[in-house]
Symmetry: C2
């Protein structure tokens, strides 16, 4: 038994933003029994994944070893941790352990997809202990930007690991319990072998600020406002929604929540009891009758999502509510890198409508949900493990976090997706690599990012498209007819209509072709492709994608 080992294997989230998905295993090499922590999504963009609905971690490795999987644990209800779960619960035949709030969010998703929710096991309190094959797991509460976020304390014969999940150290999180230093001390006092730790804010040098510090600033801003106030934040940031709502009430305003995701989060939080004393809200219909100076909208779309409430309001109206000159729009959020363009578009549209916008260049109205560098160091000290493995971050975050750990005397390495880390000894050792990647949900189907489908789309988007169709009728005198259409290409080239020029050149090519070429699909396709390429290059300076259909009639 001496060769049993404790391993850590990130399948997503280590070296990228989103897709959090981490495996721990214990047992003899290649016979380890596994637990999976989180199964999140990432969001597509036009540059790399046009038309895709959601991005999932590559499940190939996990499916191959699914018989060795014992259980799944979800740390919290953010999309990048729970978003893929409902899409794969069918094929992962193990219990899913979650806290109550997360359970409700996940159940809604599973019901939306028509999935059975019976695998969901609610963990009621931190002292609840889940025993899987080799692991004993508990949910250790942490503060973050969504209720009931948890670190996981994972005991195994190879030592105890704490997997932080997303966290910050907040003594006043507004919703839910404060970060419990004594509890963490107590848990850590038994000796923690390894800490696998959130790296998001390792580059932020100032100590983190508390959620509770925002209330006075937000209240004072709303009180100074003359027209309607609209505030946006992440739909799941229940604490912030509460802070905004409370401030509005104190400023004598009625509250209206716009956006299904936020409404759902608030309702769920109230239902499960993590959100209490939430002020009464008014419906969008009733909001229309309230004087603007007595109204505050709390809305979705803080990242510039074009169909969310913020963007729709900036373009005109949403649910028949509209902005006017003199209104105030507050981003109580930070723009996630990559979303700047959409957010700026909203800001400029509001500017055009005469609405004043407070964006994330003002630090007073938003705090991060992740631990800044000094808070990371504080947690390291509190837990005082032998080994710290940075997770949840791009490569630059993991690298800087590992450097910080080593500076402070901990063993640490950068382990990106697919790295099997042997945590059995005093030093983390890379024990191998598995292939990882991304899967796409696109409409109703899933496929691998490696399948080339999205590459074809990007290629069409950049280069335009030509469909050519040649009909070959081998009658007494063989006749060949050419048909074609373009899409996403200039109608005119240097010589006039592009279609006509292509048609003429293709006809010339076919007339000039030997019978041996005409009767050989591969050869004919080749000369037609060549003609399309040459003609398009000469006419419009582009090489389009093309579909060439050779139709040989009987």
């Amino acid at each position: 038994m001496s060769n049993e080992r404790l391993i850590y294997l990130p399948l997503g989230g280590a070296g990228e933003v989103g897709l959090n998905s981490y495996v721990y295993g214990y047992g003899q090499p290649n016979k380890e029994r596994f637990v999976l922590i989180d199964l999140g999504v990432a969001f597509p963009n036009m540059e790399t994944s046009p038309g895709v609905d959601l991005i999932f971690p590559d499940m190939t490795w996990l499916m191959k070893h699914v018989k060795r999987l014992e259980a799944i644990f979800i740390t919290h209800a953010h999309e990048d941790h729970v978003g893929a779960m409902a899409h794969y619960c069918d094929v992962l035949p193990v219990p899913i352990y979650v806290r109550l709030f997360t359970a409700n969010i996940l159940m809604d998703k599973m019901k939306d997809l028509g999935k059975s929710v019976e695998k969901i096991k609610v963990v009621r309190r931190w002292t609840d202990t889940i025993d899987t094959g080799s692991f004993r797991v508990r949910f250790l509460p942490v503060s973050h930007s969504i209720p009931e976020s948890s670190s996981l304390v994972i005991e195994s014969p190879g030592g105890t690991v704490i997997h932080t999940g997303d966290f910050k150290i907040d003594p006043g999180p507004v919703v839910g319990a404060a970060f419990d230093v004594d509890l963490w001390k107590n848990v850590s006092s038994k000796g923690i072998h390894a800490l696998v730790c959130d790296s998001t804010n390792v580059h932020s040098g100032a100590a983190g600020r508390s959620e509770s510090g925002l209330a006075p600033e937000i209240e004072s801003l709303i009180k100074r406002a003359k027209g309607m106030v609209i505030a946006t934040t992440f739909a799941s940031n229940i604490a912030r929604v509460k802070t905004l709502a409370d401030a509005a009430v104190r400023a004598g305003r009625s509250i209206c929540i716009l956006g299904r995701a936020m409404r759902r989060m608030v309702d769920t939080a109230v239902r499960v009891g993590v959100l209490t004393d939430f002020p009464k809200t008014v419906s969008p219909e009733n909001a229309r009758d309230i004087p603007r100076e007595n109204l505050m909208l709390i809305v979705t779309g803080s990242q510039g999502e074009p169909r969310a409430a913020s963007a729709q309001l900036s373009r005109g109206k949403y649910m028949k509510l509209e902005v006017r000159e003199g209104d105030l729009f507050l981003f109580s959020s930070k723009t996630i890198p990559g979303n700047e363009r959409g957010v700026l578009q909203i800001i400029n549209q509001f500017s055009n409508a005469g609405v004043d916008v407070i964006d994330d260049s003002f630090p007073h109205y938003h705090v991060s949900g992740h631990a800044n560098r000094p808070d990371l160091e504080m947690l390291h000290q509190l837990v005082h493990p032998k080994i710290i493995i940075p997770m949840h971050g791009e490569h630059r975050h993991l690298r800087e976090h590992a450097r910080l750990c080593r500076q402070n005397g901990y063993q640490s390495i950068v382990a990106t997706n697919g790295t099997i880390v042997d945590l059995s000894g005093d030093v983390p050792v890379v024990a191998g690599y598995v292939e990882t990647g991304r899967d796409y949900l696109d409409g109703k189907v899933k496929y691998s990012a490696r399948d080339g489908i999205v590459r074809e789309r990007l290629n069409m988007a950049v280069n335009g498209h030509v469909s050519v169709n040649v009909v070959y009728s081998p009658r007494s005198k063989p006749t060949v007819q050419v048909f074609l259409e373009t899409m996403g290409l200039s109608k005119y080239g240097r010589s006039g209509l592009l279609d006509r020029e292509l048609h003429d050149q293709l006809t010339v090519t076919i007339k000039a072709a030997d019978r041996s070429v005409l009767e050989n699909d591969t050869a004919l396709r080749e000369v037609l492709e060549h003609t399309v390429k040459q003609t398009c290059r000469a006419e419009i300076g582009k090489t389009p994608t093309m579909i060439i259909m050779l139709n040989r009639l009987n």
Copy 2:
């Protein structure tokens, strides 16, 4: 003659980033004679303009009134001010007045496109005066981030306007003359009617910093570096390239410039005499033989452009030079909003290669080329016009700038692209609107953004594509054959191969169709489209773009 008027009409750059293009006119309404200031480009992106090479201002209005155009003036050689000039010089039959450095940059562009450069008129010194029909124009030097930037002093019977172009107030710009407060005072002492003013940094509340302040910080950073140092900045920021090069020399390093655009800028600056004492550089070939700790690369690609030197180095090598663990990469630049994703990718790739990256979160290694809010106010006071019109900025910048001006007692309005502003009186008056937009250069052709070509491309990128082709042979017994191919779509749907299912459903549709449908192109096309849509929705949950070719054989 009393109804003659002085008008200002932005065609690009007012309410957006890039595409700077401003018209001034003087004369009776609708008979004004015009001058054009700048003709810049903007850069495409995958979200809104995939496959496009360059974006130009919509030239429709200008071409319609080209006979009333007297002259063109280019304030400086940045792409967003001069980039479109070479593409339209043929159709704008008027002289182009520029300073010597700008002239050389523009001439290179025109020669690249095979255009005659004879229209270019070099303005040697600030006292040179250009008389057009109604205007007398002089180039008033300003500091900015490229040599020989100029404001324009535009005298007319309706009063004098100063058009700032891009500027900052820099007493030590490293290359070129310092901002000359006395000269500006002198010019302004004769009474300036209107100031049309750069708005880029109106939201930056701190006083601007001087280019010359960077040298000590950069030098100290390079001296501390152990491996190779690579620094990137905007190719045209000659002053910064010099600061970087001088610092490298003082730190005992040889300099190698990588990237054609930067090499060209430096060579031009040396040739025309605006850049003196530039240190000797080594070629990439020779750089390979220099010990890493004695080498500094100054490279293009500060905005994450995937084909520029920075991105290529981050992915492996460029010109056979490669980075190694322990090297240092410095962004001596700011990431322009919208470019974050590309820049972060480079940073993470360098991180993966063990290279330390100093990005724009460190303020010590870059200063902006635009006047911050206090400097704008200083210029307003210095010039002390009756009217200030904000230009060069998104709507949020123009609006904030106009507000600032009004606060300080100036007449001001927000005039976005297409707004004709009558500047004749003491108060600016909106006298009308002209339609403006964007034109695209795509390969060898230009077309309007309104033409729908790019919309088709985005549609293909998001929804994928199906080409269907139906061959109808009206022989003794009519036969209909269906051929199809997809692009950018999942190969498999719910029932198996998507192609096969589409083929089957289309065949069923055709078999079921009445003769009246089969013989009517519109009707047949409609049922085929409907079948493709329904089948794709059912199979893969998407509605692809499609080309349907109906081939009726004789």
